[in-house]
Amino acid sequence: MDVWISIILSVCAASTPLLLAATGELVVERSGVLNLGVEGMMIMGAVAGFATAQVTGNPYIGALVAIGAGALFSLLFAFLTLTLVANQVATGLALTILGIGLSGMIGEGFVGQPGIRMEGLNIPFLSDLPIVGQLFFGQDLIFYVSIALVFGVSWFLFKTRAGLTLRSVGDNHTSAHALGINVIKVRYLAVLFGGACAGLAGAHLSLVYVPQWVEGMTAGRGWIALALVVFASWRPGRVLIGAYLFGAVTIGQFHAQAIGIAIPAQFLTSLPYIATIVVLVLIARNRRMTMLNTPASLGQSFVPDR
């Protein structure tokens, strides 16, 4: 029994950064912006969170700084694509390349240092309950934030006026503009939110999942998060399912490696990436669903006519 609980806990830990980053990116894409810089924002969050935790000794301050770092970094993207109407695909790539380089430079002094782990919650009585205790009351705070975020975003997008405004901007920015909505402002806010989420996702990697700083430690998770948004056809609930599916694949291949299955480790390591491709193909085959849910202005620049 304990084995199963520890496996479930490790699946949660592997899924949380994917879930956070994908939920943030979902909001960004719902506003019509395609930010391919998730990987870069995530790794900036990871290094900022780790460095802050090292200096202050407090992982929670680290996580907050990571959120700020992710948001600040996304501002670069927002300025280029929204104010200067630069190409969103290329700018997103630039953000990733810069993020990986910059984080490597910032983190150079922290390589190999033992990390400060954000411990799980410890609620008297509840955390000690058998089976459910560790799962529901004993994990790290970021895990609970990630779950709450999915429901929060779902409620925001589909039940609030502001959410409707955001979706309308993403579906038809010209009409939204004609209705008096400040398209650029809405998109700026969405991009900032996405950056903050990616930053927190990075913090989870460097403060909970690995607790260490390793150069390039995001290892494509930002890109997998982007694929998850497509997989989820821009629905928060499906992002949750997708993220945990990928978490399970990741943990599954770790366990397979540990058991010593007669498949080379490299093949197992590439499983999550191959799974991403397979999933993208499966979802793309269902054209009707993809078409209905894709934000219609996704990736298109908007210059307000005055």
């Binding site: 695909v89 790539l93 579906d171 038809n172 991403t276 491709i277 793309a284 078409m291 005055r306």
Partner: protein, 385 residues
């Protein structure tokens, strides 16, 4: 204060030439600021980075070595990006190209013949092209996003090459180090001059750049690439096929990346090892944009980026600046290039006081209105048929 963009009547020729240079200057300024923050003398550091390597013959040769794969990959990417296809996985195609090319010298190590070299170069191109075909096929057949699939394949390729140089192809006499046997003489791209690190890959890259420039500027295929990239709808009216172009663009850029891979393996390393993936495939994206997707511009851009690598190594030795600073430079450069490209199509004006919008009323709208508008847009962009 507020920025306002005004669309120009046509693309500005002046700025399309100037913008890469403005971007370079801005990168240098940003770099100087970075050095100040790091506590290094900014001007001396920039000198070490971008001037010193040029005065040293050994460093000049290294620039040539690094510019070779960058040019080859970026020239292929230029065709791909121009046609509106986003191949982000050149790094993977580069690796698989290197591996495919290494197949003959690894499996037939004793085969000495003048035919071997051309054969392995063709094998390299074939490997890269086939690996590039995967995202292209998935895109044209199922409509899968090629950005994500091509990128995922980079990680798969890295793992695969890592496995093959540690497993089946490992040199039994290699003291346990990952890597194949050293290639024999006939499988090695000759040096440009005696005892040089620079090899004939540089010549191949230059020829490729000129050839692709000719194709883009003077042939119908080049016209097709440009038309489909700028307006797929217009291209369809001209009888061009978007799907076939996707396949062509990926096959072509994959083959170029594969050629870069095998020229690196056969010309520089002279065997396949686990250190082939150095991020050239990603840096080449910067090269392609800095060269404004023009093959001749790309040759110049590749030399600039290669200089930043070599300068980075020099600065690490003489100034103690982290070699990651070179990566930061490269990232900043791409940012500034993209920002400066705005000047080509827009006039940028700085307004002091924000203009008040008059009659800012919110009309209530229902989701159904949005959905109708969405359906309209879908039809407009040509998804409706």
């Amino acid at each position: 204060m507020r920025l306002e963009l005004q669309k120009r009547a046509g693309a500005s020729t002046l700025f399309s030439i100037l913008s890469p240079f403005i971007a370079l200057v801005l990168t240098l300024v940003a770099g100087a600021i970075m050095f100040v923050i790091l506590g290094k003398p900014p001007l001396a550091s920039l000198y070490t980075y971008f001037v010193e390597p040029l005065s040293d013959p050994w460093a000049r040769e290294q620039i040539l070595v690094k510019a070779t794969p960058l040019t080859l990959i970026a020239v292929g990417l230029a065709v791909c990006f121009r046609s509106g296809n986003w191949n982000i996985g050149a790094e993977g195609q580069y690796l698989i190209g290197g591996m495919f090319g290494a197949m003959i010298p690894v499996l037939f190590n004793d085969w000495n013949s003048p035919i071997v070299l051309p054969l392995i170069l063709i094998m390299g191109m074939l490997g890269g092209a086939l690996y590039g075909l995967i995202p292209a096929f998935l895109k044209s057949r199922f409509g899968t996003n090629e950005i994500l699939t091509s990128l995922m394949l980079v990680y798969v390729a890295q793992q695969f090459v890592d496995w093959i140089v540690r497993g089946p192809w490992r040199n039994p006499q290699g003291m346990g180090f990952p890597g194949t046997k050293k290639f024999n003489e006939s499988a090695i791209l000759p040096s440009l001059w005696q005892h040089a690190d620079a090899h004939y890959g540089a010549v191949i890259a230059l020829v490729a750049a000129i050839g692709v420039w000719f194709m883009l500027a003077k042939t119908t295929k080049g016209f097709e690439v440009t038309v489909l990239g700028q307006s797929p709808r217009a291209g369809r009216f001209a009888g061009f096929s978007v799907k076939n172009m996707t396949i062509f663009a990926f096959l072509f850029s994959g083959a170029m990346a594969g050629l870069a891979g095998i020229s690196e393996v056969s010309g520089s390393v002279e065997k396949l090892d686990d250190k082939l993936s150095l991020g050239y495939g990603f840096t080449a994206i910067i090269v392609a944009f800095l060269g404004r997707l023009n093959p001749l511009g790309i040759v110049a851009a590749a030399l600039v980026l290669a200089l930043s690598y070599i300068g980075g190594e020099a600065a690490q030795i003489s100034l103690g600046v982290s070699d990651r600073a070179a990566r930061v430079f490269q990232g900043l450069l791409l940012f500034f290039v993209l920002a400066c490209d705005t000047l080509i199509h827009y006039r940028v004006r700085l307004l002091r006081t924000p203009k008040k919008l008059s009659g800012k009323t919110h009309q209530p709208h229902s989701p159904s209105q949005v959905d109708t508008a969405k359906a309209k847009v879908w039809n407009q962009v040509g998804h409706g048929n």
